[in-house]
Subunit: 300 residues, 2 copies
């Protein structure tokens, strides 16, 4: 493990995968590797899947861990069940990115859902996930799911007023995901929603990307009247704390108050390992340092 910590890129070295992002300056997570299962460059990005020693199979895009079989539930459940539970009756849902299928799986747990569109730009992510991440991609063959291999931004432009919930399961703002971090993207998202529509976007980690988070939330608040920011734990994302930006076109909705309360029986039936109704409320309560960063932009 040599070299300058601020310029190295992620690599498999011997029996370890080491994740290095230049913007994380000297912070790096490693997972033990049992076997590299897939490694190719698609038209859009570098795609790596390996079997880890204790986190199951791991999907890595452009050197950054996207999900591991062991802890993906922490992320997928938050990014899906937060917006799904502030909409009274979500019927049509769009997932932008999320080619691994984890979000689609979660969204399908609601009987109100009639259609889920997955707009993933990179077909290879979907194909690889079907092969190596079966617990995540299991829902992709559901008859309610429509997989669109396309640019998610183009897709929403062509489908105004159509979706009750839109989930942006995006990687970090490098490579194909760059335009998902621009203000005009939020304007387009808003236009694609029904009147009570709700969005939830991967909200980065304030600890190492405070400026990016503040800028995302500001852009979103310029477009949506109602924006909230929540956090949750995901062990294999850098710093272990992940943000979720939730917004609605309806200013009356309390984003921190779920419209349906899940009983223990519901939790079991929906196989929820992370989300519960009490956690929904509490995840919007922010540590002081995050509150200070966001307090001039949104109510925290």
């Amino acid at each position: 493990m040599d070299g300058n910590p601020s310029t190295n890129r992620s690599v498999v070295e011997g029996r370890w995968f080491r994740e290095v992002d230049e913007s994380w300056n000297g912070y790096s997570l490693s997972l033990g590797v049992e076997e590299v299962l897939f490694h190719k460059k698609s038209d859009f990005q570098d795609i790596l899947v390996f079997k880890s020693t204790s986190f199951g199979n791991v999907l890595v895009l452009d050197g950054i861990i996207q999900c591991t079989e062991r802890d993906e539930f922490t992320y997928q459940e938050m990014i899906c069940h937060l917006p799904m539970n502030v909409h009274p009756n979500p019927k049509k849902v769009l997932v932008i990115g999320g080619g691994d299928g984890g979000c689609v799986r979660e969204v399908l747990k609601y009987t109100s859902v009639q259609k889920v569109v997955l707009a993933e730009i990179d077909k290879m992510v979907v194909d690889v996930s079907k092969l190596y991440l079966p617990q995540m991609s299991s829902g992709l063959s559901d008859p309610r799911v429509d997989i669109q291999i396309c640019d998610g931004v183009d897709y929403i432009c062509n489908h105004p007023g159509e979706f009750d919930v839109i989930i942006t399961d995006a990687p970090d703002p490098v490579g194909p995901a760059t335009e998902l971090y621009e203000k005009k993207f939020y304007t387009k998202l808003k236009a694609a929603l029904t009147p009570n529509g709700v969005i939830c976007c991967q909200g980065q980690t304030v600890f190492i990307s405070s400026e990016l988070v503040a800028s995302m939330v500001k852009m979103c608040k310029d477009v949506f009247p109602n924006v909230g920011y929540a956090t949750g734990s995901t062990p294999t994302y850098a710093t272990g704390i992940m943000g979720y930006m939730v917004a609605s076109v309806n200013p009356e909705i309390n984003l921190a108050e779920p419209v349906r309360q899940l009983s223990d029986a519901d939790i079991d039936k929906m196989s929820l390992q992370n989300y519960n109704s009490q956690l929904h409320r509490s995840c919007f309560v922010l540590p002081t340092y995050i509150r200070k960063i966001l307090r001039d932009i949104i109510d925290t």
Copy 2:
């Protein structure tokens, strides 16, 4: 970075410190190293301090990161302000372990506090912290502080009924801290408390130590009538999610409800970067998978 991920030990390699714990099986955090400032074996453990590229100075005991200057506030504030804010009038406080001084600094922020005893077994940790972790050790010279270089277990045995709050700022159950994870330790803690006494112990991370956490909470619940388990984010602790076990001899106290509400002015005056009264309540709300592990032991 070679070798078997399940048997390696933490090392400084080139410009990185790599933390490996055998029980974390294939999960490893690395921090960029600018300079190794101190590295010696004391009578009790291996002590390393290095200047990191972006987390300030870092204290490492027996290969495990104890604190970094950049994120220590996340841990120190939780382990101190949770118990301090469920006691109506804490006057005498004991910190077991915590030779870096961070807990002492936090406890001194309460004007009700007349005396803080720091019972640290390893004088070298205190000396090294005074030299290299000034922002943590600053409170150690306060006239209210009594530093006892001794075994914390012996100390509590000799001071029955004396403390309003006891904080166990212990490393993991290896080396000198092993006996802090035995049932008789909780019996001794209870005996050292005043009638409304409250304890808070470093509560491990459920994600990789679920059996240890369940066993700690069970042992504590066998001794204390009132036990709660909270979680919080600390980026440089393995998996980024840290547990806090809070208990009181008074069964009437609601551990999740702070007895004093801190205003924004209080937060500023006390320089709190993590803790706030809303976070106190919400940190006891657990993700489903943690709830399931603890639900037969305590109310979650």
